[in-house]
């Protein structure tokens, strides 16, 4: 008990010193008062119609940086996540998740009703985060993470057999996830294809026209801002991430007994 107290007091002293240096001591410069030079560069170019060579046509600087200025970074992050999901699918290979070894009842009726009310709201919020990702804070991964809560809630509250009843199987989730990745790939090569057809110079992952590459994806459709390729990337990433997490929860919720029986080669008859 005495040792715990000493550890806690030491921790508190370290935290106080570090937080003093970082905030009031000015260790990182002023935290809230001014915009730093690097930020000024990005804020000046992310939505600037008077300078069409350098703009990303998106008022949301973070999404513009994530999918336009540093698009390849995000692409390889998506690849890492893709490999992690593929790894978990490979571990569970040959396991038939559609077999039922018990009756799933889930939690009480109160929890089920509340969850039923929450799920449409959650879908609406996630979709709006994805579709507004180029206008307000948010984007593909954020929306996918918000959407990933739904299969988790369904598994915990209604039991995993509910997912089977609404036909959200691992294979369907993998298909939808692949459609998302395909959307990413198509958006990636669209400027190059347009450039090849029109005989113009173009880069992979290009969004707006550059000095020696005059191919530009449409920033406005019907008067509303879609920021060229950014909305496509956000929607595709939304699909890929949300169904990637769905695969994880479908696999994690399979009963251990079922997995062991199938690995021993004993079919479970039902």
């Amino acid at each position: 008990m005495r040792k715990d107290l000493v550890v806690a007091i030491c921790l508190a002293i370290v935290i106080v010193i570090i937080s003093y240096i970082v905030t009031l001591g000015g260790g990182l410069g002023p935290l809230f008062s001014d915009v730093r030079p690097l930020a000024t560069v990005y804020l000046g170019t992310t939505f600037n119609t008077s300078n069409p060579i350098f703009t990303a046509m998106s008022p949301e600087a973070v999404t513009a940086i994530v999918w336009d200025y540093r698009g390849l970074d995000t692409l390889f992050e998506t690849a890492v996540f893709y490999l992690a999901i593929i790894g978990s699918v490979a571990i569970y290979r040959g396991i038939n998740e559609k077999l039922r070894i018990s009756m799933g009842f889930g939690l009480s009726k109160i929890v089920k009703v509340v969850t039923k009310l929450l799920i449409p709201m959650n879908i609406a919020v996630a979709t709006s985060i994805a579709l507004h990702g180029h206008l307000t804070p948010g984007g593909g991964f954020q929306a996918g993470a918000a959407m990933a809560v739904i299969p988790m809630l369904l598994v915990v509250v209604f039991s995993r057999y509910f997912l089977l009843d609404i036909r959200l199987s691992k294979d369907l989730a993998l298909t939808l996830r692949s459609i998302g990745l395909l959307g990413l790939a198509l958006t990636l090569f669209t400027p190059v294809v347009i450039g090849l057809i029109n005989g113009l110079n173009a880069y992979i992952m290009q969004n707006q026209a550059k000095i020696n590459a005059p191919v530009s994806l449409p920033a406005f459709v019907g008067g509303s801002l879609i920021s060229g390729s950014l909305i496509m990337y956000n929607v595709s990433e939304f699909l890929a991430v949300s169904f990637g997490f769905a695969i994880l929860f479908i696999l994690l919720s399979i009963e251990e007994g079922l997995v062991k029986d199938q690995m021993r080669g004993e079919g479970v008859e039902h």
Binding site: D4, A8, L11, A12, I15, S19, T23, L24, L31, F32, V62, T63, I129, P137, G138, G139, F141, Q142, A145, A146, A148, V149, M152, V156, F245, L248, F249, L252, S253, E256
Partner: protein
Amino acid sequence: MELTYLLLAISMLFALIATYIAIFEKNLVKAVIFSALQSISFALALYLLRAPDIVLVYLPITVGVYPAAILFLIRKTEEVEEV
């Protein structure tokens, strides 16, 4: 400005306490809950530091997905840690 610093300090202190309890808690389910509490106060701190994009991804992952994944794993092992 002072209010922002004050809220930041309170949320980070709360996070520190929750982290401390989560590390020394022997019951793993309770430890996961304290870890989620720490995440909530981190989310508040990130919002105060004007990073709403991070908050939007941090909340569902650390309060929803990560505790659920850890709870699934705990169910497959033992609930109370034995040292």
